[in-house]
Symmetry: C2
Subunit: 426 residues, 2 copies
Amino acid sequence: MTEPDARPHVVIVGGGFAGLWATRALADAPVRVTLVDRRNHHLFQPLLYQVATAGLSAPDIAAPLRHILRKQRNVEVRLGEVVGLDPGARTATLADGEALRYDYLLLASGATHAYFGHDEWAGDAPGLKTLDDALAIRRRLLLAFERAEACDDPDERAAWLNFAVVGGGPTGVELAGTLAEIARHTLRREFRNIDPAQARVRLIEAGPRVLASFPESLSRKARWQLERLGVEVVTGTPVTAIDAHGYRLGEAFEAARTVLWAAGVAASPLGALLEAERDRAGRVRVAPDLSVPHHPEIFVAGDLASVQQDGKPVPGVAPAAKQMGAHVARAIRARLAGRTAPAFRYRDYGNLATIGRMAAVVDLHGLKLSGALAWWFWLAAHVFFLIGFRNRIIVLVNWAWAYWSYQRHARIILGGADAEAPRDDR
Amino acid sequence: MTEPDARPHVVIVGGGFAGLWATRALADAPVRVTLVDRRNHHLFQPLLYQVATAGLSAPDIAAPLRHILRKQRNVEVRLGEVVGLDPGARTATLADGEALRYDYLLLASGATHAYFGHDEWAGDAPGLKTLDDALAIRRRLLLAFERAEACDDPDERAAWLNFAVVGGGPTGVELAGTLAEIARHTLRREFRNIDPAQARVRLIEAGPRVLASFPESLSRKARWQLERLGVEVVTGTPVTAIDAHGYRLGEAFEAARTVLWAAGVAASPLGALLEAERDRAGRVRVAPDLSVPHHPEIFVAGDLASVQQDGKPVPGVAPAAKQMGAHVARAIRARLAGRTAPAFRYRDYGNLATIGRMAAVVDLHGLKLSGALAWWFWLAAHVFFLIGFRNRIIVLVNWAWAYWSYQRHARIILGGADAEAPRDDR
């Protein structure tokens, strides 16, 4: 029903931090914007591990893109998946066959899990990128304790109570720390045949230390905090095999029914649709203004973009994605005004990672915090940045409750969680 | 790890209102109790329609059975499905092969949807009994508006915006009223190509009036309130066919992509495992003390029990299920003490149904309320009865927010909601 529109058309693919921030920054620009996402919601990814570990409900950390953008009249939100790009004809084709003609295109479709050439591990070691991933992991964690409770064979029971998280970056640290808390505190006294506190939670990092993007002193503190929570931290040893029965660490096979993958990310496959140079992780190497070389009308931002600054890569974190998104909006405005787009410059305000109740590390370039103070800082920052006023209140109430009671309210198994599912349905 | 235990073993199948209330009422009885449920949570079913219509998150209205019962040391909670009963050997067999030997058995596995011999309608007209049902309905409702927005063909668009709820009982009334509110208010201004307020919401009841279990004056008021919310109420006409493209009402075919089923329930198939007389809906006809004739050690309670009182059936509502559950606990205690179990007597305190924002009907035997006052009464009663202190607070905050803003926070499409799903995946 939209009439022919003379305004330049900006197509933005992906409603994550980069895409959404670009969209918002084009609010009063003389363009019309189409924001395409495969999902109907923007996701506050930094809290995804809380949904996976039953501390928050899925809707607590997500908001419908349409709702966020309802007042921005130059935007149309489109639920759809881009399956083809034709830079010559300047069209992006959706899965339903519709071709969107663009004047400017922003690809901000993010990243997905990478199994380093072992895609066969995906079924036995799920990763955490979407709300559906989080609910699948939640279901698996909760069912593992149920299976252990119902099981008479000691070896099988031990395998159900053996949890491994592969990858010692922020997501792996969060998952392992929270999982240890669940076993030690949340589930205490709820079972009759097992003691959940006997569960073994292992965090496995192939490199020499956890949280490698932090200063070494904070990595040490993070490890110490993890161990205090009951996590066994293994560094310097790669996982060499994963199947339904367990995993191989170096030479030793560990019987474990629950392995979570937090070790690798690869750029969204959308980058491959461009004829542009990509790095090892599949990210598109962009020009200083974030456009694609030889295609000044195409931009890439967020986890899909490979950007070097001062000899180091700009990290794949939310603040960088937001800054890139906002920059692309500025670049498009500059082009429209006949000016040259400025170069992107990442402002690094610091680095935070949470570990568990009252445990976190914060690196503010010079100011390093760990423990309870770092945790309060992390909490304040994350609640502040949560999109949507309502979500912030709810998340705070949930957290206050969880903190006071050690309880996690979302311990509901959803999605074909019936007990008749085969025991090997992992 | 439990040692041989001389206490009589009570097996309770189903953790709904009947099973959970029976379990709790056996807290200090000289028995050990095993509570078996296919799901890990007790569900506050009266608010399930709020999850289906994106007003509440799934965990808001559910609590893990283990958590509710963690302090009751004579109970073991077992995630599992009963697939066989042997009243002679007094065993209940689970899907994983384990046979639970009981001294007393309570079957409280509730009800499921019934399509009156048209099971082929199930895929195109989902019903609402579990959290997974609610999330599937939520997904379907939200996707319908997305499909309409993306669609160029006026007929197809109209079919996506045509919603029908079959069945004018409390669930049908709640779904239709809330759906009309979503279209008229919640989604206002969020779409660019469609006006959600143009959506057609029809409530279809084959009998002469909606809410047939209420006095006629309240049925009239309910109908009037529904119509004021924008629902088209059709009574006295049965739906005679449903498929992926629409439904047949009398002789006319209506192109509609979303049909919800709230017309019929049938007792859980577990009742058929007993060699006992059952009514037309499959409910087990029980003796006055709720035991199964010829099997004084087997009880049936809740929606699975067919109980007559003063010539009328006891209704399938939460208060009746709770009372039956508590009664069965009393009956078991009486038997253990060598006394005769008393007869069950249902105390009917009244009947409530909600319709939408500030719209409800309440029948307290003599005192009849409708409109805003009835709605406040309904809200207070439901929040009061919600299990778990935390859930009550969260639900209240959610409602306060929803009321103030007309917004529904859980409008998140989960579960393979990617746009590449075929358009006919309904």
